[in-house]
């Protein structure tokens, strides 16, 4: 046991040094031609999640767009809420541009919350794509009716049940939003994916839920049409100045900020609200990102950025991405870098507030 532990420690150092040298040696090559190569796209989740769908959507397009048309293979490396795969990627150095990594909000949050499992540093990586998304909160028809007639006070006494994947995951954003609105929401943990949460809602056990935009479009819209679910608000979307505006996919729905402003219990200023904005900004507008490992030369970054740029400029992109990704910015180049910057930094007050709130409200201690 001890021997193996040592070997692993020693191995990562040796690996790092060995690969740095290899990286330096190859950095002089001009341009990147991946003909005959296999690009490995590491997804730190299982085959079943939203990240898998996102990567499976892009992988064949990337194959067409990269010079040399390499085979693009999505490799799933689930574990420890995506921190395992991210730690693994951190241990890699740029070699020949055939390894890329897809992170998600669930990779960002533990990083922001100083989770002890996090051994990775976003600053070391090179972003080549940032995909945004949004989130929609919805209610059962009867509660929506009460809300419509009596305002938010009418449902303030309701015992809400919400199927949650864990308070430190992306669920932090809706849970904090409901808390700010003064709702009494009890999260039932142990849900394995948002789809299971929706099923719990459909079974009538949960009576409040949220889905990311693409899942809402495919999974909840039929329920809305059938009259069993009613959308309430979106988390909104960021404009160029960083203000929260209405979600372009759901322009008719108010944002959380609007709902909060209208509610007596809720204030659109102060530490708690600022913390919500900070974590929303980290989790949604650039929820999923593609990275090249540390030490990637500029031409490799440019090659990949150009490939993703080409994909998003495809004539049929809007059509093929509509139901798979929703209408959200797919950012490359400088925009992606800006998105990365806002997604991986939260003010210290916001972080402290959320860490304390998680400990007080859910007994979650991250150490």
């Amino acid at each position: 046991m001890r021997l193996t532990k040592h070997t692993i420690g020693a191995s990562s150092i040796a690996l790092a040094t060995g690969l740095v040298m290899a990286g330096v040696a190859q950095a002089d090559d001009n341009g990147l031609d991946l003909a005959g190569e296999t690009v490995e796209w590491i997804i730190p989740f299982s085959e079943t999640g939203g990240s898998a769908r996102w990567a499976n959507f892009y992988a064949p397009l990337l194959n067409e767009a990269l010079p040399g048309n390499p085979t693009v293979v999505v490799t799933f490396m689930p574990g420890a809420g995506s921190t395992r795969g991210a730690n693994h990627f951190q241990g890699l150095e740029y070699e020949d541009g055939t390894t890329i990594f897809g992170s998600s909000g669930s990779t960002q949050f533990p990083y922001l919350l100083d989770d002890p499992r996090v051994r990775y540093e976003y600053g070391d990586w090179n972003v080549v794509l940032a995909s945004g998304t949004g989130g929609v909160v919805y209610l059962p028809a009867d509660l929506a009716e009460e809300l419509a007639s009596g305002g938010i006070d009418a449902i303030a006494d309701e015992n809400f049940i919400y199927g949650s994947q864990g308070a430190t995951r992306l669920d932090l954003v809706p849970l904090l939003a409901w808390e700010l609105l003064g709702l009494n929401v009890e999260p039932v943990f142990g849900i394995e994916g948002r789809g299971d949460g929706r099923l719990m809602f459909e079974r009538g056990e949960a009576n409040i839920d949220y889905q990311t935009s693409s899942s809402f479009l495919s999974g909840v819209t039929p329920l809305v049409e059938a009259g069993t679910a009613v959308p309430w608000f979106t988390f909104g979307s960021l404009d160029d100045q960083g203000n929260i505006v209405r979600d372009p996919t759901f322009p008719d729905l108010p944002t959380f900020t609007e709902v909060c402003a209208a509610a007596a219990a809720c204030a659109t200023s102060g530490t708690a609200y600022d913390a919500w904005v900070a974590f929303f900004t980290a989790g949604f507008p650039a929820q999923k990102m593609v990275f090249l490992p540390a030490g990637a030369p500029q031409e490799a970054i440019d090659t990949y950025s150009a490939a993703f740029e080409a994909i998003t400029q495809r004539e049929d992109f809007e059509e093929i991405s509509l139901t798979r990704l929703g209408v959200y910015p797919q950012m490359t180049g400088a925009a992606a870098e800006a998105a990365l910057a806002t997604a991986t930094v939260v003010p210290d007050e916001a972080r402290t507030f959320v860490i304390d709130w998680l400990a007080d409200r859910y007994g979650v201690v991250l150490q």
């Binding site: 193996t4 070997t7 191995s11 990562s12 040796a14 690996l15 060995g18 290899a22 296999t38 299982s46 085959e47 079943t48 898998a52 769908r53 499976n56 959507f57 992988a59 064949p60 397009l61 194959n63 085979t71 293979v73 999505v74 490396m77 574990g79 420890a80 395992r84 730690n87 002890p116 499992r117 015992n159 049940i161 199927g163 864990g166 430190t168 009890e186 039932v188 943990f189 142990g190 789809g195 299971d196 099923l199 719990m200 459909e202 079974r203 009538g204 056990e205 495919s218 999974g219 819209t221 039929p222 329920l223 059509e319 093929i320 139901t323 798979r324 859910y362 007994g363 979650v364 201690v365």
Partner: protein
């Protein structure tokens, strides 16, 4: 629509690919489907569906080969098949067992499709009736199968199931994220063990080691001629059993959240309970093959309901299937709540493609079974290294970490000991499989019920004691009652003689120590995460009480009591090699892998094993090694997988496959 030649062509292509992947234990549909995904983009929807459905459909059929011939559960769908299928193979009736299994599979698949054709329109509201308390009761019903499979000493079976449950709770708790039997410094344990590894370790490793020690072929008798006709005849004689088990398969498959991993056990339990003559179960009763195999293919059909109607994959392969469907054509097929309204024709196409794929798959399997069954006549020392290579490779797919192999070896050792002292391995596995759902549904049902009771007594009681729950409670009680009464007659793993007192006592003490450790470890979980504490504490307490009773019994019972069952004594005459020297071979492979990586270690292992253990010439060993390495490399290349690296790989860069 589905009978167009091009569709059938792609279906057969998928079936053949699925058979090629499914024959190898532990790989299953996930690996195969991942292989297909890159080709799905923009493909004509019906053709793509045919390809994928063909592949998914035959995995539960082809995995039967490994279960029956080698005693290795090919996938989670055919664990129960091992219990009777493998003894049949040992008796030289492999061809009969296989063809009975395939007939049952085929029938289950078609019955499942026929049932779904009508049911799928009405399924949605029925599935939604299964709320958390109902799911919990279904889980408990699955656990109650332990009663039938407990073996001669019921308490040993219960403790074995408790041990399985506790091993299943290792890692991060689902409710509050508390760590059980693991720390932040042991990231491998934090995620818990995967079913692939535990299934292979608990069934395959002990069988491989046991057969190796005897140094003979799996079956010392020549296969009976025309065995496959006898198998079909056996199936026909038990057609009603097959009908019932198929319906069980569909019903369990339809319920989302449980997955199909227990359906074969439930079917096996049902088979045993409804049979008049129970004496042969576990030592080669053909009904023990027909039951589980009828259910596991029917389950695939049932599993389409949560997948297609709710967009909730019932299994890992179904999850990839959803991804694949989304890539087809212009993405117009949307799996989920709108599927029935918008794409009813595709829904039916999938259901019936599944049935047709079953027909093709079964025909190919039956045709091949006579030839493949001859494998059981090969001297096992020549087969074992090859099998071990494959299960190591399969285990490594779980997390792509060297620890996968350590886990395989460690739990395999536990399996060897459980086999030796006649502790029910099926009970352990059922416990392991159901640990996560049992804990999750208990906690969730408790939490939701508390909220309902706060609204009022009536709402709370309505929620907890729905009609479905009450029916399930009655079924479970009846099943446990009869199960325990009959358990003494059912020796799911054959008869075992008793030996001395010392060795069984030491094993019991070791099990007790682990359970005690798990109890202590869980008791350290602080109050705010108590939801993660209750379940392991409860299971450990029950198990410890069982251990205490066993210890007291051991004190007072004579050596001849079944309590002291010890296969070492029984098999002493037929064992040519010692346990430790056999294990040392595999331990050496493991250590060598950690040093020089899997492929190099494997090459040396194969060469030396064939030369010295199997006593073949250097030339033979060389050719065997080259063939083995070439085979595993081509398989890894096709599936685009790497091998476990060792210390050497961290020092120098080596080309694939040595990386």
């Amino acid at each position: 629509m589905i009978l167009a030649p091009s569709v059938l062509g792609f279906l057969v292509l998928g079936v053949v690919m699925g058979l090629c992947v499914g024959v190898f234990p532990g790989l299953g549909g996930i690996a195969g489907l991942s292989l297909l995904l890159p080709f799905m983009f923009g493909m004509e929807p019906l053709l793509g569906l045919a390809l994928m459905v063909g592949m998914v459909a035959v995995v539960p059929t082809s995995d039967t080969f490994a279960s029956v011939l080698m005693g290795i559960p090919g996938s989670s769908a055919s664990q129960a098949t091992v219990l009777d299928g493998f003894p049949l193979a040992k008796k030289g009736q492999a061809a009969r067992a296989l063809s009975a299994a395939f007939s049952a599979s085929l029938f289950g698949g078609i019955l499942g499709a026929a049932f779904l054709t009508f049911f799928i329109l009405a399924a949605r509201p029925i599935v939604l009736l299964f709320q958390t308390p109902e799911l919990l009761m279904v889980t408990i019903f699955g656990l109650s199968m332990v009663g039938i499979l407990a073996g001669r000493v019921a308490i040993k079976g219960i403790v074995a199931a408790g041990l399985g449950l506790l091993v299943g709770t290792i890692g991060e708790g689902a409710s509050a994220g508390a760590l059980r039997m693991s720390t932040f410094d042991t990231p491998y344990l934090m995620d818990g063990f995967k079913l692939v590894i535990v299934g292979l370790a608990i069934f395959a490793v002990p069988e491989i080691v046991a057969l190796l020690r005897q140094d003979r072929a799996i079956s010392d008798r020549q296969a009976l001629g025309g065995g496959w006709l006898a198998g079909i005849k056996s199936w026909w004689q038990n057609k009603w059993l097959s009908v019932r088990c198929s319906l069980i398969g569909v019903a369990v498959g339809v319920i989302p959240g449980l997955g199909g991993s227990v359906v074969d056990w439930i079917a096996y339990g049902h088979t045993v309970q409804t049979s008049k003559d129970k004496s042969k179960f576990g030592s080669g009763d053909i009904r023990g093959v027909i039951g589980p195999e009828s259910s596991n293919n029917a389950k695939e059909g049932g599993g389409l309901v949560p997948t297609l109607l709710f967009g909730i994959p019932g299994s890992g392969s179904m999850a990839i299937f959803i991804s694949g469907v989304a890539l087809l054509g212009t993405g117009q097929i949307e799996v989920g709540p709108s599927m029935i309204n918008n794409n009813l024709n595709f829904t039916y196409a999938i259901v019936w493609l599944l049935a047709v794929a079953n027909v093709f798959g079964t025909l190919i399997c039956i045709l091949a079974s006579g030839g493949i069954a001859r494998l059981t006549n090969i001297r096992f020392a020549l087969l074992a290294p090859f099998l071990f290579m494959i299960i190591s490779f399969a285990a490594f797919q779980s997390r792509q970490s060297l620890w996968d192999l350590v886990a395989l070896f460690g739990i395999g050792f536990l399996g060897i000991m459980m086999r030796r002292f006649d502790w029910s391995r099926p009970a352990f596995l059922i416990g392991f499989v159901l640990a996560a759902p049992a804990e999750r549904y208990t906690n969730q049902a408790f939490q939701i019920a508390s909220s309902r009771f706060r609204q009022g007594m009536e709402q709370g009681l309505d929620y907890v004691f729905s009609p479905i729950v009450i029916v399930l409670i009655i079924v479970t009680i009846v099943s446990v009652f009869f199960g325990l009464r009959q358990a003494k007659n059912i020796q799911a793993e054959g008869n075992v003689n008793s030996g001395g007192k010392r060795a069984p006592l030491i094993f019991l003490l070791a099990v007790t120590a682990y359970i005690g450790l798990a109890y202590w470890n869980a008791s350290l979980i602080p109050d705010f995460a108590r939801m993660d504490r209750i379940f392991p504490i409860f299971v450990a307490t029950v198990s410890l009480v069982g251990c205490a009773i066993l210890l007291i019994q051991m004190r007072f019972k004579p050596e001849s009591h079944p309590l002291f069952a010890d296969r070492e004594i029984e098999e002493a005459e037929i064992n040519t090699y010692g346990l430790w020297s056999t294990l040392a071979w595999f331990a050496a492979l493991l250590i060598a892998t950690s040093l020089v990586g899997f492929i190099l270690a494997l090459a040396v292992f194969l060469l030396l094993f064939i030369r010295f253990r199997a006593q073949k010439s250097w030339a033979f060993a060389g050719i065997y090694t080259a063939a083995g390495i070439a085979f595993i490399c081509s398989m890894a290349a096709a599936l685009n997988r790497d091998f476990p690296p060792g210390l050497l790989q961290t020092l120098v860069e080596l080309p694939w496959p040595l990386t």
